[in-house]
Amino acid sequence: MKITDSVERIDSRAKIRGMAKYIEDKVYPEMLYAKTLRSDHARARINQIKYPECPQGIYVIDSKDVILNNEVSMIDTAMPVFSNETIYYAGEPIALIVGSDKDAVLRYMEGIEIDYILEEDPFFDLDTASKVPSNILTAHTIEKGNLNTIEYDFVLEETFRTPYQEQLYMEKQGMIGRFEEGVIIVEGSMQCPYYILNALKHMTGWNEDRLRVIQATTGGAFGGKEEYPSLLACQVATAAYKLKKPVQLILDRREDIAFSTKRHPARIYVKSYVKNQKIQGMEMEILLDAGGYLGLSDVVLQRALLTMTGAYKVDHLRIEGKTVRTNNVFTGAFRGFGAPQSLYALELHMTHLANRLNLDPMTFRENHFVVEGDPTSTEGIFHEHIPLHELSDKCRKLAEANMASEKKQKWVGYGVAVVPHGGGFTGDGEAAHIKAVVHLRKEADGMVTILVSNVEMGQGAITALSKIVASALEIPISRVKYEIPDTSKVPDSGPTVASRTTMVVGALLYRAALDLKPHLQELGTYTAVESYKKPDYVVWDQETFKGNAYLAYSWVALIARVEVNPLTYEVKCTHIWSCYDVGRPIDEQMSEGQAHGGMIQGLGYALMEHMTSKGGFIEQFAFSSYPIPTPMDIPEMTVEWVINPYEDGPFGAKAVGELTLVGVAPAISAAIEDAIGHETFTIPVTPEIIERTLSVWKNSN
């Protein structure tokens, strides 16, 4: 086949027909069910837990049962598998109550009494927490040029706030642990089998001969199944080892929304120095609410900082960032990984600057676009062709047909955003930490098997990778198989995160295919092995944050149109025009699907996904109180591409998945501002926010 051929999604038939087995569908002989005993308080010490006597068939699994280290390894190891002393957030797991009869488990749990000591005041508010030095978990500063020497006509400083966002994958978090023939086997819904394997190694002190992680069909993840499943895996592994029986832990939907990771609430300060209609320098500060544990928050912060100047060349810079410990639920990976927060603030700030200068917001952006050869915010070099002007031109032309046909009317508005997303791990992470390895095996029957640890989670990974292999080998896609990730069978090609699967892992498979190709006609089997090699242009110092922060950038220009109801302040986003540089889309239909999904998830973030914490508990923890867009809320979406092949991507492909979300909220917010004639500084821009904005303005005039 050729890479430009359109194919049917390989995983779609089984899923549509209900044939796919998710972890909740799996039943093993003698399997037991686990329910999590959680803390009622956000900040406390556990003095004593009074467990009633266990009736037959009911078991309590807690920190005393952990094989070696009561720690979940996710970069740092601060988070316990089961809390046995200090509680840092409401709902923190204390034990698993396990049994074969769920009613009996619940009856037993009603009798458990936990005696807490509440001696310290909890922190729930990001601003308050950030003023206490011991709450600052990590901090970074990026400086470039010299802000003290610049000349300027005026300064604009603004503070923006972004809220929680819940991934709301269709399939809830779930794991089954088994102990068979001396091996702990953990199976479940996940993005990163080897992250879990490493967490199990750390917890048990065992090596991989006695530990095995298998991915079950995963019904959506969006980052929510990056690090959180390591916690659940450690818990079911402990229970299965102690009880020598399979143990299933599936979070209920409300439990999942309330206690699993979500996008970091953020406060972002942006200050620009402007002369002759050009930004001379910028100062920025971003604070992220990390919740009770650091988890991946510092990595999220790094991406937020490294993407803070977006698509623009800024010569003089100072960017500071901090992760702040609070006693809210711990926050983590979510599509965009820090970039949705920083780029919301930057892009809306760019629109506000354009308004001050009375310039068209797209034109003002164009005057600042980076071009090939420009220095990056970290003093690296943009080493590739950057088609930003082509993207903004094309996007504008798409929207103009519509804009020209309607006169400027009150309560109708247009907003733009232009954003990058760097593909793969930050800096030299791919080479220094991930060190991906892929295997491609020609079987004796002529089939070719892909062996990687990157998972299908609904994004189309199996289809994209199979297409790359089949096209490189010039064989039908039906001759390509994909091995379900099982750490006893597949090499560590890294986690399924950071929009890296097609771009980085796909490139390794492409090279493996070229190695395999001459052996296709041979008898027997042949395995091609490919390891990640750092390209020469990637120079990065993780200590100083200097160099090329990303392998390659994908770009998008967006224009959103909204109508605001003048009586009810309800916002209807009617159309989003979008134009992407993702190198070459591996499959146009799948990439369009990613674009549509990203726009809808971004629209939810922009308009309705209102989530707050009270006393450390998430207040909107049900489908009925946490609204995500329905088909009735989805605008018309126009998707176009600028083909700009990336030399190290498979068939020229770059990152797609996260790029499609990050620019949507600022484009829609700007469109609302255009419609109502007032600036906004927070999302979601609910009708309540619009009502308040207009009433504040009315009262002050």
Binding site: D103, L106, I250, K572, I628, T686, E688, E691
Partner: protein, 275 residues
Amino acid sequence: MFETIMPSTLDEALEYMHKKTYSPLAGGTDLMIRARNWQGSTRHFKGDVLLISHLDSLKRIWVDEEAYHMGALVTQAQAASSKVLPNYFKAVVSQMATPAIRNAATLGGNIVNAASVADLLPPLYLADARLVLRSLNETREISIQEFIVKKYTTSRRPDELLTEIILPKIKCDTFVYEKMGQRRASILSKVSFLAVRTQTDVRVAIGALNDTVIRSRAMEHKIAKGVPFDEIIQGYEALYESHDDKRSTKSYKETVATNLLKNWLEVNHFEKGID
């Protein structure tokens, strides 16, 4: 544990209810959710359950000279697609929940639930609807205002079943219905506004703002008389008793109710009155 009974007729159901208190469960779209429990464990019903969704005698819609009659087990989907029910009523029903829920959820369920955000209550208040309650030995008919005592509380006795909704025929030349939610479908109301007018009459109901529906015949008479808008608006605003909640704010809900009222007064040129 709880007992689950499935009577074969309405009379049998009433006999059960005469002997003991049951939760009548029809579409289950609210009760099943409230009884939620760890998935795979027994549902957490607070009392014994009487399954009634199969009682066909309560699924009819019919019309006589004075009123539309709806059995309590008429589903929302059935009402929305009815050829005989008035348009203002159907406009309300067809914006409730989602198509799948409307297929199961009954009119009676939404009424006896008596939530402050129940979307069926504004049209029932608007038309001065009456409800038929049956017990083993008695059939009584009461107004919707008498039935709804306060949020989540009705005057239904434990041995009574709501069997029929009587929606008097009112003249309705034009109507407006606006439902504000956090999104455009499948969402609870933050506030709703329903108003009808004829050559001789106006009726207004504001839902979800207070614990119960706002309806004032006195204010409607003032509108019909052409009393100045400011006075009308002040009159309605004096009835507002909303508060901030996790879905919206007091300020938003009250401002929007007033905006919709004012706009409706203006577009209908009620400054002249209609008498």
